[in-house]
Amino acid sequence: MKILVAVKRVADPENLNKIRLSAQGKIDTTGLEPKPSPYDEYALEAALRLTENGANPKQRLGEVVVVTFGPKEADSMLRAMLGTGADRAIRVDATDDGLDSDVVARGLAAIVGEEKPDLVLLGYQQAEHESNAVGQMLAEHLGWPQATFAGSIQSEDDKALVVGREVEGATAQVRVTLPAVVTVIDKIVHPKSVRSKTTASAHAYADGVRFAALMAIMAAKKKPLTEKKLADVAAGATPGVRYAAAELPPKRAAGVKVKDVKDLVGRLRTEAKVIG
């Protein structure tokens, strides 16, 4: 199976409470370390699991191509992903100013046309704008089926996938015939969430994403990383939305520390009046 994984470089998701507004009223992430958007990292892990036998992960049973839209600096993220196990990488040279979900979806559709993967995997949303839209838009542009909010994926002989979609308080199980677009949530990296066509059902992965071994990082320097121009993959596509302004939400001030349970219940009853 050939899988295209779409990834985005974002400001450190663990420290987003440190963002500020610039003098021009724009969101300023200066000082936050660039990192891959976590849900896209989970998508890569899912792609690697789908293209190997869990019992013998060194033997690759498919191809994983990672693609990003970003500046030159994003190459180091792609190199790290090649070290983790992706086979090739593509960077579409772009800055966030010229992008929105639809421009990225159209660009990805063009790359899918060239690469002809069986599956496109990506995070259900990226950690900055959180639009939760690229996967669905891409599926529409391609005329492919979509499965969003995937918490589990099981390959049926690489012809179809059974996907567990996590929807409010329930799991909706769907079967999508490939090629398809699947967006993933954090649960996808649990030990038994992904099963390739050869991985035994009893196999349990270590929880979370894998890390690259030093040798693999060295070897990854020889793996192909190609650069494309945005105009070549998304000719004529212009953003459908524009961010006109930004603001910081009112800070929730720290309240009081109560001295004991009795004090707490008293204040909830008489001060906050939220319980009877």
């Binding site: 959180e130 690229v134 979509q146 308080g169 999508v176 459908g240 939400p249 349970v261 906050a272």
Partner: protein
């Protein structure tokens, strides 16, 4: 003149409460709107939707729509949108709305504003405010295309109340199947059965973290019972298997904004806070006095939860 099509969420022949948030948004635009109910049982469910002041309630009740499949629903929404000359589609940003709206936007060539928590109307110009960066910033977004698709947050758009009157009901046929529809098959819905109120709609939410370990239910259920609360959990508690995944509150779980949110043994990771900081009153109980949750809690109690929670249950049962 703008005309909005609200897409209702129908589950098992009933209107999901989330729908009334999208209606509240449509009313705020101050222009005519209609509602589209599609799915099996939409015909009977449409009766719940006629007293909201909509011009029309469109109904597409067809066996092919018995379970929600985006590839079947989106073409039918697009068809009604075009045939009746709408310019805006509104859905509530539930799992249903978030799955449907972007595909629909791509189909209509429309710009999409997702998960908005406020709208500003100035003449013909509309801007939408949406939380980004795990709730640490709001962006004001404008849609540049003639057609607009918007999903609205249930936590900030309070459910619309009926305004009386009776909208005309019009049946519509589903759109012709697209090739993608044949390649997705709905298998089953595994819903967890719970006597408790739904997390997204509960007045009080009691949430637990990893610190509860195997005693998650044993400690929290009596407290949830005493408060008539829904149960929630941190991602760490769900990942560790102490709480089922559907309880997860936070970025990838549910976004909640109850009157009272009680965080027990939750340290307050950014992705958790993103899902609950719109709550009216936040209580935190944690033995680590430096836990970040205390920075946003209205009432903090630094204590061992295994002692404090049973005490709290007792105190709540005592008549006030």
């Amino acid at each position: 003149m703008t005309r909005t099509l609200v897409v209702a969420e129908i589950v098992e022949g009933k209107v999901r409460k989330s729908t009334y948030s999208a209606i509240a948004f449509a009313r705020q635009l101050g222009a005519p709107f209609s509602i589209l109910a599609l799915g099996a049982g939409a015909q009977s469910a449409s009766r719940e939707l006629t007293p909201f002041g909509a011009e029309k309630v469109f109904v597409c009740d067809d066996p092919s729509l018995s379970n929600y499949v985006c590839e079947r629903y989106a073409p039918t929404v697009a068809k009604v949108f075009r045939d009746d000359g709408f310019d805006t589609v509104a859905v509530t940003a539930s799992a249903f709305g978030k799955d449907l709206a972007p595909r629909l936007a791509a189909k209509l060539g429309a710009g999409y504003a997702s998960d908005i928590n406020m709208v500003k109307v100035e003449g013909a110009k509309r801007s939408y405010r949406r939380p980004m960066y795990a709730g640490n910033a709001f962006g004001w977004v404008e849609i540049l295309t003639p057609a607009q698709v918007v999903s609205v947050r249930q936590t900030e758009f309070a459910a619309a109340a009926p305004s009386g009157g009776e909208s005309a009901v019009q049946s519509v046929a589903p759109a012709a199947d697209e090739p993608a529809a044949a390649r997705v098959e709905f298998l089953k819905l595994e819903a967890s059965k719970s006597e408790r109120p739904d997390l997204g709609e509960a007045r009080v939410v009691v949430s637990g973290g990893r610190a509860l370990k195997e005693q998650f239910n044993q400690v929290l259920e009596p407290l949830a019972d005493a408060l008539g609360a829904a149960l929630g959990a941190s991602r760490a508690a769900c990942d560790a298997g102490y709480a089922p995944p559907e309880l997860q509150v936070g970025q990838t779980g549910r976004t909640v904004a109850p009157q009272l949110y009680v965080a027990i043994g939750i340290s307050g990771a950014i992705q958790h806070i993103a899902g609950m900081k719109a709550s009216k009153v936040i209580v935190a109980i944690n033995k680590d006095g430096d836990a970040p949750i205390f920075q946003i809690a209205d009432y903090g109690l630094v204590a061992d939860l295994f002692v404090a929670v049973p005490e709290l249950v007792q105190e709540l049962r005592r008549p006030s």
